[in-house]
Amino acid sequence: MRRWLLIRLLWLVVTLLGITFVTFVVLDRAPVDRADLQLERAAVQEGGEWAHSRAHSLLRLRVQYGMVDPVTLEQRPLLQRYVAWLENAVQLRFAGPEGDHGALWRRLGQALPVTMWLGTLALLLSVVGGTALGAWLGLRAGRGGDRWASVLLLFGAGIPEFLLATLLTLGLAVLWLPILPASGLRSPGAEHWTLPWQVFDFAWHLVLPVTVMAIGPLVMVARFVRDSVATVMRAPFVQNLRALGVERDVVVWRALRHGCAPVATLAGSLLPMLVGGSIVVEQMFSLDGFGHLAYRAVMEQDQPMLMALVVIGSVVTLLALIASDLLHRAVDARVRLSP
């Protein structure tokens, strides 16, 4: 057990190196680099004046960002830059050689609560709701409503997040039944309210984003559990219990325990889905979480921020994969842990 955990953690480090290296290389492929883009933007803001000192400023910025060697003024090779980044990253200094580490961490820190609330609630809703729905459908597999349920689930799996967000926003926030807020996390002036009202206001604002984020994973879990439970209900041990005349409640409970165990493995792969979903959802409901940071970082070609986000995202995902393996082991004693 301890050996297994050790091997997995070792692989985590190796995988992390792989991910960051590939990300670094891909980010480096951008035809216009960060310094270029920054000058471009400054030039647009300040008007002319920039053309003559442009080459000089470009070089200075590139030296500052560690793209160019400060002594020889030549482009530093990719691998050297990656190693330099890695050295900084190990010390949790993601902002680059001369960047403002405090500012980067502050931005991440401000975004963290939003993402945590969204992600945790969506994960909970999708796992609990999906398992319950799937188990309910699985026990009724093959009956009349089964086909309609599967068509509905198909629809839920097929509809893109941004479309669902638009539909729900239109329906419940703008046009037909305007009761839910369409954007943000707080009503204006909410800071003067009493605490219970503030909490309620916050929760009320979270309803739509969390629902939109959770629907896709929820449907995935539900379909998975439905098939699993339906299979278990036909398993010999269930028929045996029935034949022995065991009460129906007990039979169902035993079948569900077996049918729902594989959800543990699924929970790990839900996280990447939620990470992707948060970009869309935060953009649509104008929330300032990690997804919004990622969107802005891509738009502004903010490599240090992107790398920091990729590292955080992959560490969380990899840890979740390990945790879901452990959880599966805890739920189902027959599972062997293979590295």
Partner: protein, 356 residues
């Protein structure tokens, strides 16, 4: 059963599925029609038609003629558009203006495409006009025909979705089969690589590729394929792991059949349907990813009509009551994605019937 008409064992006496396999294509089609519900057939044909429409969009819906004779010179502007050359209008006019002024019995003539409106043809006079006979899908806020834009948006199916899924399928199937057949170090390496790719923040990569990496289309296909190959590799590896222990593989190996031939002739044909199911799911995911990107305003096809970009614009219009600007692109996305899912279900059902 076979004793009813003729001697037992004659090929013509075989019934059901066996007859459908060996005999005429027409019978095969009838057999599948009978097996499947109508919407499964409809959805597969719909996908084919949608892809063809996307491929030939410039000659199906365009504001330039297919064939034109200007001052005795023949030209084929819509076909030039099809291969990517911007067609230049005659006499400093646009093709549409020239066509409108064309005398009926003059020497010149023009033959317009079946749907004579272009995706970027702006006409303020039909600004936000709702669906009517002349424009069944209505017009958007700058007076562009929504039907023409929807048809042109289907091009993404052929340009992005199909190549990405095919590339992912080939790479994933080969690597997965190799890993499952060879076991050992190869398997460990492939497994770790899959895990590595699973953790990639794909949407972030897609956004970056679409926003910055040149024309973006090639990069988008590559990133999507990198996202898809893992599913194929996992499925195929799992199947090959059990198939390789079968006796016929042992026989083939002891007869000296090469590894490549065992893989391609003995093992891969067995996992065909599972690969098909995965491909259908991946196609749905690709459609969603492409439309999400263009909805966020960073698609590679920003200048062209794309369903996601139309929705972005329709979002503002639908609040003002112009539902058609939003509804038709949204419906296209949902219908295409659903059709992919239905195909996956169909293939899965067929696979489980065949007992694979």
């Amino acid at each position: 059963m076979s004793t009813l008409d003729g001697t037992p064992g004659t090929p013509s006496a075989a019934s059901g599925r066996e007859a459908a396999v060996g005999e005429s294509p027409a019978l095969m089609v009838r057999q599948t029609m009978a097996d499947d519900a109508w919407w499964r057939c409809v959805s597969s044909w719909f996908l084919v038609v949608a892809m063809l429409a996307g491929l030939f969009a410039p000659v199906l819906a365009n504001d330039v003629p297919l064939v034109a004779k200007v001052d005795g010179v023949w030209s084929f502007p819509a076909f030039a558009d099809l291969v990517g050359e911007p067609p230049v209008g005659p006499h400093d006019l646009s093709w549409k203006q020239w066509w409108a002024r064309l005398p009926v019995d003059g020497p010149d003539f023009a033959w317009m495409p079946p749907w004579p409106y272009g995706p970027d043809e702006v006409d303020p006079s039909r600004d936000r006009l709702g669906p009517c006979l002349a424009h069944p899908f209505g017009n958007d806020d700058t007076g562009r025909d929504v039907l023409a834009r929807v048809v042109h948006g289907a091009a993404a199916l052929v340009e992005l979705v199909l190549p990405a899924v095919l590339l992912g399928m080939v790479v994933g199937t080969l690597l997965g089969a190799w890993a499952g057949y060879r076991r050992g170090l190869v398997e460990v390496l492939v497994q770790r690589t899959i895990e590595l790719f699973l953790c990639f923040p794909t949407l972030l990569f897609l956004m970056f590729a679409a926003a910055f990496l040149g024309d973006g289309r090639i990069w988008l296909v590559l990133v999507m394929a990198a996202m898809f190959w893992t599913s194929f590799a996992r499925i195929v590896r799992g199947a090959v792991l059990s198939l390789r222990e079968r006796d016929y593989v042992l026989v083939a190996r002891s007869l000296g059949v090469s590894e490549w031939r065992i893989l391609t002739h003995h093992l891969l044909p067995q996992v065909k349907s599972q690969v098909g199911v995965t491909a259908a799911f991946c196609a749905a995911a690709a459609v969603v990813a492409e439309s999400t990107l263009s909805f966020l305003g960073i698609g590679a096809r920003e200048s062209l009509a794309s369903w996601g970009a139309m929705l972005r614009q329709g979002n503002q219009q639908v609040v003002l009551g112009h539902w058609h600007v939003w509804f038709f692109p949204a419906a296209s996305i949902v219908v295409v994605v659903m059709a992919c899912h239905v195909q996956a279900e169909r293939l899965r059902r067929r696979a489980s019937e065949a007992g694979v």
